[in-house]
Symmetry: C2
Subunit: 159 residues, 2 copies
């Protein structure tokens, strides 16, 4: 299959949001996506972009994305976080996911960071097997903790 | 106890690294800290700082830090990550940790982000209880995945 992997442009963000929504459905959280195309454009394509997005294209259609950004580990310094790696459902199993994944790791190498990190749902054994086969390590003894805007407002109002 | 919470300055980074090392010992990974004072200064106090650090001071001694940075959630947009909240061992239980935590959440509110996120070790029940009491939510169904520089180089060399 012929495909192109390239860096995303501003005008791709409509399609990118479509894929983000598709992943949220796969992850059983269809209503969790609050972001808009405007925010994607503002955060990714203005001064000091907050993220970098790779696109997989087949016959001029955007069929996959990998979105990364910098984090700061107090142990390892500047690191790269892989936020999303999404391939359109009809295109899964074609090697596009692996190609995007390889692109991210080449990017990490070019940036010289000491760590690349991401998260995976514990029931997504297909992805876990893939990651482990590529040499990534699963850390099972950490829990994510989140507080949403409502929670923050509630907490701060009581201070 | 009298304390001051303030934003860290460049010259605080020596003491900050000392506290980072102390946390790594507490988390049973004393050798994991590869970062240097120079990197902390370069990443936090030059153009486009990658992180923001709060300091807790008692009698002019730095006894605690909270270090945060922006992340980019494809569901929630710009979010804040609490990388480290450290209080010197001899000063634990004095309320300094809560004060730093509150400072981080006030900061998050002032930035208008939709989410604050962090991680906690599953055996650190004291911290987990505290977080849950403040309204934060523990997500137990995600695993962290990491690939270090060596792993990245090895993977890329085989492409």
């Amino acid at each position: 299959m012929d495909y192109v992997i390239r860096t995303a442009k501003e005008q791709d963000m409509v399609d990118v949001l479509g894929l983000i929504r598709e992943l949220a459905i796969f992850e059983k959280e269809p209503d969790a996506v609050e972001i808009t195309v405007e925010e994607l454009v503002n955060e990714g394509f203005r001064d000091n972009p907050l993220f970098h997005c790779f696109i997989a294209e087949v016959a001029d259609e955007i069929v996959g994305i990998a979105l990364v950004y910098y984090r700061f580990s107090t142990w390892k310094g500047r690191s790269i976080h892989l936020e999303d790696l999404i391939v359109k459902e009809s295109m899964r199993g074609t090697g596009l996911g692996s190609a995007l994944y390889a692109e991210v790791l080449k990017y990490a190498q070019s940036k010289g960071v000491r760590r690349v990190e991401w998260v995976v749902l514990d029931w997504n054994t297909h992805a876990i097997d893939f990651y482990e086969k590529t040499g990534a390590k699963l850390l099972k003894n950490w829990h994510l903790v989140q507080m949403d805007k409502e929670g923050v407002n509630k907490f701060v109002s009581k201070l």
